[in-house]
């Protein structure tokens, strides 16, 4: 059954069209912050809201790419990718908290407000180093990556596959959510981190910061897309697809399935962590709600809607579902969950190859 989903690259003409569309879309995105600088009364003016929300969607699209890499190509349906995303966000959030310095409500020189409030005397050891930006970025990849390494090693080694892996990863993000809700974890409890002031010397609530973060996200997106393309086109990528379609057979052929899966899972987690790291400064808050299993599964549905097994499809899904969400939650908030639920049902039943499947020929 899943063999029919092995969407090979669409045929010649489709591929070129796809590429052109992609380039056009990226150029269009890149234009947004420029148009934002136009005077208000200009017909082409783009509001701050559009820029910031698009910036957010770009990080979502990176998350979708990460999920697609693991699910679409290696058949690892993780329902805990939101956890990697949130961990990356927390890493950069810690850096942002450190940068607030004495400007907090309590005015403590080193401790963030919530720590003063909770009666901490000094910074916990695991906060050390987060005042350096490169370290925070490194941790935004290293923490999700190591978590994925441990979980993946345990899971793949004992050949936990399919829905079992999904349930385990879901439990993982659920456990993390519960843990982060605790005040004595040292991560701000259920309020999380907010009230950020600046990043790399630039105040966060200015339009220049917005466009800088926007371009950073776009660069991350292109970088991630490039990396994923390389991985999936390589021999390694072929083996991954083979593992997805017939794991035992690949194992019998002498490939080390565990290591292949582990590699792609860790890579995917690191990409998700970076996406989270760019997401947090743009939305200005990170709290344990980001770990909720619902978030992870919502991200999975972006990929499903766009078309799993196609990197461009993942991007398409992330943008279209989030656009629909933004539109519906303003027009008819009560209907959004119906629409999202309906998407889950409709896509799995009628669009197994996602939106992208509509544009490319079905494989034989």
């Amino acid at each position: 059954m899943s063999a029919s989903l092995a969407a090979p690259a669409p045929g010649g003409f489709g591929r070129i069209t796809l590429r052109l569309v992609l380039i056009g879309a990226v150029l269009l995105l890149a234009l947004l912050p420029v148009l934002n600088r136009l005077p208000m009364d200009s017909a082409l003016h783009v509001s701050d809201f559009i820029v910031s929300i698009t910036g957010k969607w770009i990080t979502y699209a990176v998350l979708a790419l990460a999920i697609d890499l693991a699910w679409g190509y290696a058949g690892i349906l993780s329902l805990g990718h939101g956890a990697f995303f949130a961990l990356g966000g927390y890493a950069i959030g810690m850096h942002l908290m450190r940068l607030i310095g004495p400007r907090g409500v309590y005015g403590h020189p080193t401790l963030p407000d919530f720590m003063v409030f909770l009666g901490y005397q000094e910074l916990p050891w695991y906060w050390l180093g987060f005042d350096h930006f490169p370290f925070a970025v490194f941790m935004a990849m290293a923490v999700p990556g190591s978590l994925a390494l441990v979980v993946g090693f345990l899971a793949f080694r004992s050949r936990i596959t399919g829905v079992y892996l999904s349930i385990i990863t879901q439990a993982l993000t659920y456990a993390l959510m519960l843990a982060f809700f605790r005040n004595d974890m040292g991560f701000g409890g259920n309020n999380g981190f907010t009230d950020f002031k600046e990043l790399l010397g630039m105040p966060l609530n200015t339009s220049s910061a917005r466009s800088t973060l926007f371009y950073a996200s776009l660069i991350l997106l292109l970088g991630a897309l490039w990396l994923c393309t390389i991985v999936t086109r390589s021999k390694l990528g072929r083996v991954l697809v083979a593992i997805r379609d017939a794991e035992s057979r690949v194992r019998f052929l002498g490939y080390n399935v565990t290591n292949h899966k582990l590699f792609v899972f860790v890579l995917s987690a690191m990409i998700a962590g970076l996406a989270g790291a760019l997401y947090v400064p743009q939305v200005g808050i990170i709290n344990p709600g980001e770990f909720s299993p619902g978030n992870s599964i919502e991200a999975v549905i972006w990929v499903a809607v766009g078309g799993r097994g196609s990197l461009v499809g993942a991007l398409l899904g992330a943008f279209s579902v989030n656009a629909l969400k933004t539109w519906l939650t303003t027009v008819a908030p009560d209907l959004w969950l119906f629409a999202l639920g309906g998407l889950f049902v409709a896509v799995t039943l009628f669009l197994p190859r996602g939106l992208i499947g509509l544009f490319s020929k079905a494989p034989k």
Partner: protein
């Protein structure tokens, strides 16, 4: 030993009606002759420990006690306070009291309540005496103890007696009291002993032995109570996971909307309760009625889901997972719009409320006890349905070999639908149980779904025994960790432990072997 013998003799004396009557008559002399004499009579009555004195003293307190010129004391209903017979009320006058008499009255009544026919009153009196220990209580308590039969009140009386004896000068009595307190298992007894240790350093060794005994009992009780809470949580998990064991374990269909079916069951309970509210004779039966109602509602929803959607996705478990998650979202939102996002209140029937005190002082809440019973009952029904019914036979046949089953004339599609409906109905039953202990709200199910899946994965997919053991283990382990780690961390530990556990046994505790194991 000697003391209890004395108590026994005292009872024998009290039990003889004739002599008791004499006692009462003697005690009564002087009542109403003047405030001083009245107070003395009240004092005597209080020390007598005769229940018949209670209505008399009450009437005196209310100012409704009268006395005939002949000296007969009359209760408000014109009966002789001594014999209980109707008496001639002609010329009777009220017995007047002043503040001094009132004060004495209160003390006497308090002590007399120890022998009151009302058990609640006796318990309250025993507790009151325990709080105000004194040497003068000893004979009274011994008398009361001798005739007391309710274990709980006996325990309280023993405690009060020991507390009073500890005040005595008699070292033998003290030792006796210390030993007796050592057999109790309450924090009050321990506090009493610790207090006594300061006053009586010469008895420290005996007291320490008793304290150690108490602490051991308290520890045992804590363990028993934790065990009960764990079993209670385990039975909740069992109820929630049984349905999954059928849909996921037997059919291999992963139903993420299972939690929402549980929620639907809870709302069905709520609706049945609202329907029954108008009919007074039906209202107490709302909960038993909700059981079939919730089962049928969720079973119908399950059948609909299976025939309408899941059927098309057989063999694609990941897609099924996503699709049913979407269905769950829709159900949740629909219920939220229909009933509102706030919690709905489901009232427990009277026979499920309150706390049961088991021997050894283990406190057990009734509704949790009933849920354990309910969980076991549902498990037995499921086992019986799968083992002994035609439906169960067909279900097992289809699971084992679909094509051969079809050749044998089994309508496999119908069996699929019924199996799924059965599993969903079980979720509804879990909802009925959860409505008793949790808030009935649209996201009721989300809190249980992950735990339930953990139970099924831990216990071994497709094994009911595994589900039972898994649910109880998880429940007990969770509750055992809670005092040390807090509820949240306990949950996290359990999740991590399960992940490590399936390293050793990837297919759970009770793994299926042979062909069926290959998915």
């Amino acid at each position: 030993m000697k003391r209890s013998l004395l108590g026994f003799l005292l009872v024998l004396l009290l039990a003889l009606p004739a002599s008791a009557q004499d006692h009462l008559a003697t005690a009564l002399t002087g009542l109403g002759d003047g405030f001083g004499q009245t107070a003395e009579a009240v004092e005597r009555l209080g020390a007598l420990g005769d229940p018949r004195a209670i209505p008399l003293l009450r009437a005196l307190q209310d100012g409704t006690l009268r006395r005939t010129p002949a000296g007969t004391v009359l209760l408000p209903d014109d009966t002789d306070a001594m014999t209980g017979a109707k008496a001639d009320a002609a010329g009777a006058e009220g017995v007047r009291i002043n503040n001094r008499v009132r004060q004495v009255l209160r003390g006497a009544l308090g002590r007399l309540q120890l022998v009151s026919p009302d058990a609640v009153e006796r318990l309250a009196a025993a507790e009151a005496v325990f709080r105000t220990p004194g040497l003068e209580n000893v004979p009274l308590l011994q008398a009361a103890l001798a005739r007391e039969t309710v274990p709980r009140i006996r325990a309280q009386l023993e405690l009060a007696l020991a507390a009073s004896q500890l005040r005595a000068d008699d070292p033998a009595g003290k030792r006796d009291a210390i030993a007796r307190l050592g057999t109790a298992a309450t924090t009050e007894a321990r506090a009493l002993l610790i207090e006594a240790r300061i006053v009586n350093p010469e008895l420290a060794t005996a007291i320490n032995v008793s304290i150690a005994a108490i602490e051991q009992r308290l520890q045992l009780r804590r363990i028993a109570e934790t065990l009960f809470q764990g079993l209670s949580l385990g039975s909740v998990l069992l109820l929630a996971a049984l349905g999954l064991a059928v849909t996921f374990g037997v059919m291999g269909v992963i139903n993420m909307a299972h939690g929402e079916f549980v929620m639907l069951g809870a709302y069905a309970t709520f609706m049945v309760q609202e329907l029954c509210r108008g009919i007074p004779w039906l209202a107490p039966w709302a909960l038993p009625l909700a059981v079939p109602a919730a089962f049928l509602l969720t079973a119908a929803a399950g059948a609909l889901l299976e025939r309408g959607l899941i059927r098309h996705l057989y063999g694609r478990p990941l897609e099924t997972l996503l699709m049913t998650f979407g269905v769950g979202m829709i159900l949740q939102q629909a219920v939220r719009l229909a009933f509102g996002a706030q919690n709905r209140e489901v009232i427990s029937p009277a026979w499920m409320q309150g706390t049961l005190l088991l021997p050894g002082g283990i406190a057990v809440t009734q509704n949790r006890l009933w849920i354990i019973v309910f969980g076991i009952a549902v498990l037995l029904v499921v086992v019986a349905a799968i083992r002994f019914t035609r439906f169960g036979l067909e279900m097992r046949a289809v699971v084992q070999n679909r094509r051969i089953a079809a050749t044998m004339g089994i309508r496999t599609g119908r069996v699929d639908a019924m199996t799924f409906a059965f599993g969903s109905g079980l979720a509804g039953l879990a909802g009925v149980a959860l409505s008793q202990i949790d808030n009935v709200s649209p996201n009721l199910g989300t809190g249980y779904i992950i735990d339930s899946f953990m139970v099924v994965v831990f216990g071994g997919v497709g094994s009911l025994a595994g589900t039972l053991v898994g649910a109880l283990t998880l429940g007990v382990v969770n509750k055992m960790l809670e005092p040390y780690a807090g509820a949240v961390l306990a949950k996290v530990f359990v999740l991590v432990a399960i992940m490590l556990f399936i390293q050793r046994r990837p297919r759970g505790l009770f793994a299926l072997k042979g062909r069926a194991a290959e998915s």
